[in-house]
Amino acid sequence: MRKNNLSILLIGLFSLLLSFLLSLLLGSVGIKPTSLFLSLVRGEKTTETNIFIYSRLPRTLASLSSGFALALSGAMLQKVLGNRLAAPGIIGVNSGAGLMVVVAFVLGAVSPWTVSISAFVGALVSSLFVVILSRKIRAGRSTLLLAGVSLNYIFGALSDVLCTLYPKETAMSGDFKVGGFSSVSMPRLLPAVLLIAIASIIAFSFSKDLEVLSLGDDEASALGMNTKRMRLVFIVLSSILAGAAVSFSGLMGFVGLLIPNGVKWVTKGDSSFYLSLSALFGAAFVTICDTLSRLVFSPYEVPVGVILALIGGPVFLFMVVRGKR
């Protein structure tokens, strides 16, 4: 068991490194590592260095951190809600973030910080709404999921209304809905990456609490935990992660569902291992998909959300069918 876990961790690290390198070097214009290295060392400004610094580097950082954050957010939600269907894209966290970003566009607040903060606020408001509603009606965990699903539709519809009424202001929101990294720049990325880093560190430091909470409310309370407060902490953390990722990557909900389920399928381990592997594979998977999105119909780009769904969908289906046997 332990040996198996170690090999999966090594596979995860290797995939991450590979996806990182491929994403930096491959695209409609191929970059040769040696000439890039020499130009960077000499401080020369060539087409290659420009592409590397202004396009590939931010894009790779964006795909890595968004995959990392969305998968980590999904893994936490699945543990906290005790349901494998829980994911930021399912319980309305992503669409809440999406709606607030569209609102920000309509109001003309398009700076990187305002977009990041609006996405975070949207994610937080929708997840809190779901939690408070379920507490008021003393709902079980599956009712909580269903409440989230309905919220998803409502927020999606409201976003569409705004996009129809303000087509000019929300021109960018089409890309936003499909999800992608083609328009990512460092200034837009950094605030969100900072939020992701802080939320991840806190989340990992509380992974023991997450495991105790997933034993059940009565068990966790009997071990001295304030379960209401801790559940709220994890939901807020997963909202920060999902909101921050959505702010620059658009709506890529599937990662948060697929990766944690995949990790659970191949390995059994404690919470910190589960969270780490989910984050690692999430980062690698989104980055590989983004690289493919640039390569498949090069020089044209397919939105990464499409590639994610085309690869992830069948993989998920396979897991569901195999799991059922």
């Binding site: 068991m1 992974s207 034993l215 001295g224």
Partner: protein, 256 residues
């Protein structure tokens, strides 16, 4: 002698539904106290109040003179451990689960210490499940799982251990083993309180019986006195008899 656990005038429930009405009980250190009562009589709720899962409306709970309700949840969990009736059998390894018995003792950042691992090891050996430490809980049998949960209580190092129907879903030989383990814990000086469905098992295992009905304590006494008072006959609508030190019961006949 320590005065043990004293519950005084507790009222408690869920939302606006009152389940426990003015409940007072005592449970001694080094003794097994069994709680009996029909479904919905508030037995499990009482255990949940003592283990701080449910906050009571008024009343007092003291353990050896110390007011439990004034302690933080964490400190209270160092004094009272609780084995719930049913659990999620999540994908967790036996050793990891037992280690969480030490959760009340660790601060932030959450790291279990060498001492915690040592205590877990001792508990696993004591329960005879040291070879199962890397096994997933979900792949164990009901009896083995119960041992894991008891090991978890052991590392929690509490004076009071609450068992909520620990024999449910177990075959009869496992049921006796769990009851033996409860008695062994009492012999070590712990205050063991156990909710049981089986009246005979309760009468034969416990040092003291508490009978509950509709959220109230009807009677609290040693098994012999409980038997002779006929209180169980009334509460469960049965005819309880004793012959050659063995108890048995039959359905109460209509009109009797």
């Amino acid at each position: 002698m320590k005065e043990g656990l004293i519950v005084k005038n507790i009222n408690a429930g869920y939302d606006k539904k009152r389940v426990l009405e003015d409940v007072s009980i005592t449970a001694d250190m080094g003794k097994v106290t069994a709680i009996l009562g029909p479904n919905g009589s508030g037995k499990s709720t009482l255990l949940k109040v003592i283990s701080r899962i449910i906050t009571p409306e008024g009343g007092e709970i003291t353990l050896n003179g110390e007011n439990l309700l004034s302690l933080s949840r964490r400190d209270s969990a160092k004094r009272v451990s609780y084995l719930p009736q049913s659990r999620n059998t999540s994908d967790i390894k036996v050793e990891s689960l037992v280690l969480h018995g030490r959760f009340p003792y660790i601060g932030y950042p959450r790291r279990y210490r060498v001492e915690d691992y040592r205590k877990v090891n001792e508990a696993l050996i004591k329960m005879g499940i040291e070879d199962k430490r890397d096994t997933l809980l979900s792949s164990l049998s009901g009896g083995e799982r119960q041992k894991v949960y008891i090991a978890m209580c052991l590392v929690q190092e509490t004076d009071v251990i609450l068992f909520d129907e620990p024999t449910t879903y177990l075959d009869i030989s496992r049921q006796f083993k769990v009851l033996d383990e409860a008695k062994a814990l009492a012999r070590e000086g712990k205050c063991v309180i156990i909710v049981l469905h089986d009246i005979i098992q309760a009468l034969e295992t416990a040092d003291k019986i508490i009978v509950m009905k509709e959220g109230r304590v009807i009677k609290e006494d040693v098994p012999d006195n409980i038997f002779s008072s006929k209180v169980l006959d009334d509460v469960f609508s049965i005819t309880l008899e004793k012959e050659n030190c063995r108890y048995f019961y039959s359905r109460k006949k209509d009109g009797s």
